[in-house]
Symmetry: C2
Subunit: 243 residues, 2 copies
Amino acid sequence: MKRIYVVGIGPGDRKYLTGAAARVLEECQVIVGYTAYVDLLKADYPEKIFLTTPMKQETERCRMAFEEAAKGMETAMVCSGDSGIYGMAGLMYQIGQEYPEVDLIIVPGITAASAGAAVLGAPLMHDFAVISLSDLLTPWEKIEKRLIAAAMADFVICLYNPSSRKRADYLERACDLILQYKSSDTVCGLVRNIGRMGETYEILPLGEMRNKKVDMFTTVYIGNRETREIGGKMITPRGYRNV
Amino acid sequence: MKRIYVVGIGPGDRKYLTGAAARVLEECQVIVGYTAYVDLLKADYPEKIFLTTPMKQETERCRMAFEEAAKGMETAMVCSGDSGIYGMAGLMYQIGQEYPEVDLIIVPGITAASAGAAVLGAPLMHDFAVISLSDLLTPWEKIEKRLIAAAMADFVICLYNPSSRKRADYLERACDLILQYKSSDTVCGLVRNIGRMGETYEILPLGEMRNKKVDMFTTVYIGNRETREIGGKMITPRGYRNV
């Protein structure tokens, strides 16, 4: 059987690679991915064939992987974070309909929400919503609706892609919507360059988060009503007694 | 410096252990955790000291870990899935206020949402909400409010702890709330025993999910308006063109 592994390599550093993902990378012949992520792997696997496409050429990247697998090559499509959370797994299944002879195996990875939470402390101890602020593939109105619903129901909110050059004010717009339902002193956090050189974090109230300049390598966390700062960390308690 | 590592070991099988988590388990002297999870590790690390408490004795479990670390033992508190998602990280920070000389280091793991999604296909390609149906530590009214908000805003919804002996009808109640806003043919999925022996999955419409008998080892996924079944898998498309 011909197959492609769609592998989440975690954010940044290889320390977050799972055993299952490491084994796939060792055993496959061809590694396909976004240029920047694949470059991180080249030094570790010098004997592999690497194929890349830049951003916004995701469908081409998927076809490239299927063409390799169709030739009989053991192929891995790599994604940063989890291949199954805003990753390539979905598009691979869609394009895979053109290649019925190729099986897909999804190998999960540590997503930014998990890795960033570990840096901040414990913000995701309770129900949470993950929302991408990128309107490249989603109408902004839909994103607004989700921000409002998540804020109304007091979810902890984790924002992916909070900003980019073309969307410099999106985090501010998102915070303003959330501020209609959450107090301006809601404990928030942000993590830059998760698992990479230059990893930093900051804990700050929602009223200040709206004025933060962030980039696309930042993940943003907005607490729920119970979230608080303990010893410089962002903690969402879960309601245990005797604490 | 005295320290405790709070380590997510992923769901089930050790294949989901990250390199960072494996290293902590190898290097620590004492492993503390919930009886059932620690039992999975005993065979792999026969030379360690294992300390456990049963369910509902989480605060005692945390204090046990801090006492070991305070004695100078290299200590790991292990959690199934991600230590930072409904895990022990939060409670450890809370109890840690009593042990200011002990540092906490959170090591993330693959959470059930990620691992289960990989089994089902690609349900989490778009904004999603994670909600636990356990009302042990959360009032049911709050859970209801979150279910409704997530359904209204067309999030993909991932349900943790969908049922237990005492809460046999909770999934039905949750589905009925969601059915007020999502169509009964919304594509849903469930995964049992993720990463363990006996792992199974099923894809079914929301109208049928409400009648499913599930147990506490099941994770439930409710799609958004675009989620569909492709080749027996649950896929949420992300809006790429030319597909």
